[in-house]
Amino acid sequence: MKKSMGQKIFLAFNYAFLSLAGLLCLLPFINLLAVSLSSSSAVAAGSVSFVPKEFTLSSYQFVLHSSKFITAFFISLKRVLLGVGLNMILMICTAYPLSKGKKQLFAKPVYTWYFVITMLIGGGLIPTYLVIVKLRLIDTIWSLVLPGALPVYNMIILMNFFKSTPEELEEAAQIDGAGVWTTLWKVVLPISKPGLATVALFCIVSHWNSWFDGLIYMNNPRHYPLQSYLQTLVINPEQMLRISGGDYTKILAMVNARTGRAAQLFLGALPILMVYPFLQKYFSGGLLMGSVKG
């Protein structure tokens, strides 16, 4: 189809505008990378923009210098695998029934509110901690995984997604003799991949990024997940001069808080960046395309 002049101009502007918007998202990241690869004195002088100055890997050396990073990385990995697995199972098992009408699910509003109320009111830090202590979850990976094993917000997203799937497909399955579990497993889930991918990504990101619970529930820094460990690295160089008053010139020499923080942010974000492309195809892979005819 031939495009008119106006359309062409619109398209040109559109591309220009969107590239600019894209660049706006990308540039801070490039700056971060440049800062993490520059010497601290160049960064302190504010002369680093998009190209590293006085190139050095010492920030990465600082962050990666001990086996602690690797240990913490694997704890984080374990947490994501366990946590997201548990999240998905519980979310699916909750969202599917709640997506049905009142006739199919007895006392549905009660159930719905039962979950929603946890989004509005929390137990508070100390009471939650006490529960974790009494359950003897303290200092175990389960203290990071079990509280919040059912992310209600994500569950609601999934529930709405299930609601939008065509009733006819499930009816067809039931006529063919499928039970509830078979319907869920063989019919609903396969057509819900975009929804599942979305909430899975949310869960992965939140498990990967959370650091506070690790600091609170773990009794030993060796059990910190990656983000908690990195958090301690960033805060401490500044604190150290005040607390130890002395000889930490070696660390200060090449790494100040800013380059270290940049390296940390970059390393911390990298795994998520690598997961994203694999989930991307589900987002773009057209919703329910061709599953209902007529």
């Binding site: 006490l130 600091l215 820094p221 805060i235 401490n236």
Partner: protein
């Protein structure tokens, strides 16, 4: 972006929840206090009986049991350890197995166990949680507010007797060098917590730092009066000290926290951030005194002249540091650590001539300057009332003070270097004279280079001082500008010797209204002062004093007098 918002919402929700839960605690605490008091009373009495019984048993058991006495049988001591990610252990050591734990076992037969270990940034939080869940270890650190809490709840042991009997002379000397700090660990005459002390008033002092190559380029003399300092700032602003032909420099480094101006206010005998003991015996906050008004008027003039950056009101600390490092500004009001950061970066970017030299803060008039000193004690070592061997904690503190103050170079290196002394927390007690003595000793042998009399901590800094003098190694400029003869401590030492400082009346324990309102009062202070400096009429200060009083300041002052007044 999404995440950010979610994070913020979460933070908001958590804060709300936490506040809610705190309020809940308060209520239930009040309701239960009547019933609880009797119980506490009993517990205290029991603890006293126990302590007496123990003392007898101990003295009966072994005659020579003293500060370094060894237990015949292994004693287990659980502790809450504070860790630091930058600690570098050697030979596969870690937090639970290192020179400190091994020496404890070999020398005292004390087995140290971690009830938990937490990063320095989370330690206080973990202590709160441990108090709430009643899972306190034998020995731990508390901050002043927590100290008040655990003593009121009767959770910790009376250390008066074990301290008298077991504290080494070194430890007692350290405590004597700041009696006021030590006494703050006493409740009703009983020693309930051992102050971890501090690095001395000298480590809190500020001075004027001036870029030396600019001084020489413009042929300026060392400042003697405050007007001299301002004149130097003026020259740096107007006379292109970096010689690049562009008007891109200014005089005095200030950021939006106004920290350096608050320090400079000492020159006007104003102490905006501390609580003052007035002559009539009342305690008043420094920020509402009329001297602050005079200082603000002067700062307004500096801003009009262009001596302050036009952007100071939006510049954070990083931006101010950036200006110092990139050679945009030549004067800073800073503590003795200036040479470490940003000093090292200044040298790396501008060459060795660009070193900042330190000068005493001069007075605005004929009256001598006094420097403001904050409450210095961060933590107290406390022992759980259920601990069977409270004296074990004292022995461990003896060990720490011996190694760090009297140890050999090898010992010092094995126990302390690369942040390894964090492994001794909560048995760490600082010597308030250490920094002061570093200056005295190092500056004395700077020429003769006779290091035989130096202690290990002095030797470490001495080597850096010499490294700068001989090799101009930028990484050593921090120690040189701090403890060498030309260093900042030399400038500050007379202030210590002549007691030219004002200590705050606040001793770490916050009052209820302070917890609630102090941060918003501080925010209002910064906002109003920024406006005044940028040109608003000075009458705004009088309005500020009024609103400060009516918005909670008056209540806080009343509470302060009740808590700390005579």
């Amino acid at each position: 972006m999404r995440n950010k918002i979610a994070e913020k919402m979460l933070a908001f929700a958590l804060t709300g929840a936490l506040l809610g839960s705190l309020a809940g605690c308060g209520n239930s605490g009040a309701a239960a206090s009547d019933a609880g008091e009797a119980g506490t009373q009993n517990a205290v009495e029991n603890a006293e009986e126990k302590a007496e019984g123990q003392a007898e048993a101990v003295s009966g058991k072994e005659e020579e049991d003293g500060p370094y006495g060894r237990y015949p049988e292994t004693v287990t001591l659980t502790r809450a350890q504070m860790t630091c990610a930058a600690t570098q252990w050697e030979n596969g050591d870690d937090e639970t197995n290192n020179p400190w734990t091994r020496t404890a076992l070999e020398e005292f037969n004390i087995r140290l166990e971690d009830a938990w270990a937490a990063d320095g940034s989370q330690y206080a939080e973990k202590i709160n949680l441990s108090i709430a869940s009643q899972t306190l270890p034998d020995v731990f650190w508390v901050n002043a507010n927590q100290f008040k809490q655990v003593t009121e709840l009767g959770l910790v042991a009376d250390l008066t007797q074990v301290y008298e009997q077991y504290a080494s002379d070194t430890l007692k000397g350290i405590m004597d060098s700041d009696r006021e700090a030590f006494e703050s660990g006493k409740i009703d005459g009983k020693l309930m917590g051992i102050s971890t002390q501090h690095f001395g008033v000298i480590s809190q002092m500020n001075c004027v730092w001036i870029r030396d190559d600019w001084m020489q380029k413009l042929n300026l003399k060392a400042p003697e009066t405050l007007e001299d300092v301002y004149e130097i700032c003026r020259q740096f602003t107007q006379n292109d000290p970096d010689g690049n032909g562009v008007d891109d420099t200014y005089g005095l480094a200030v950021d939006k926290s106004l920290g350096s101006l608050y320090a400079l206010m000492n020159s006007y005998h104003a102490y905006p951030k501390i609580w003052l003991n007035k002559e009539d015996g009342q305690i008043e906050y420094g920020v509402i005194q009329s001297e602050v008004r005079n200082a603000l008027e002067a700062f307004q003039g500096l801003y009009t002249e262009g001596i302050l950056s036009k952007e100071f009101a939006v510049a954070d600390n990083a931006k101010m540091t950036e200006d110092l490092v990139s050679g945009k500004v030549g004067v800073a009001i800073w503590g003795s650590s200036f040479g470490y950061a940003p000093g090292i970066d200044v040298i790396k970017n501008n060459g060795e001539e660009a070193i900042f030299k330190s000068y005493a803060l001069p007075s605005a008039d004929a009256e001598a300057v006094k420097l403001a000193i904050d409450w210095p004690v961060g933590n107290y070592v406390v022992v759980n009332k259920n601990c069977q061997n409270p004296e074990a904690a004292i022995k461990m503190i003896n060990l720490y003070t011996r190694v760090t103050n009297e140890g050999t170079a090898e010992e010092y290196n094995a126990f302390k270097n690369n942040e390894r002394d964090w492994g001794a927390i909560p048995f760490q007690v600082q010597n308030p004279m250490a920094d002061y003595n570093q200056y005295v000793e190092i500056s004395a042998v700077q020429d003769s280079r006779d290091t035989s009399g130096l202690t290990p901590d002095q030797l470490g800094k001495y080597e850096h001082v010499i490294d700068w003098i001989d090799n101009k190694n930028p990484d050593s400029v921090g120690q040189y500008s701090q403890v060498s003869r030309e260093g900042a401590y030399g400038v500050m030492k007379p202030f210590v010797d002549n007691e030219q400082y004002v200590r705050t009346a606040y001793k770490g324990v916050s009052t209820p209204t302070m917890v609630e309102k102090m941060s918003s009062l501080d925010a209002m202070r910064d906002e109003v002062f920024t406006k005044i400096i940028m040109g608003e009429d000075i009458g705004a200060f009088d309005e500020f004093v009024e609103s400060w009083n009516s918005l909670g300041g008056e209540d806080i002052t009343g509470e302060m007098n009740e808590l700390y007044g005579n």
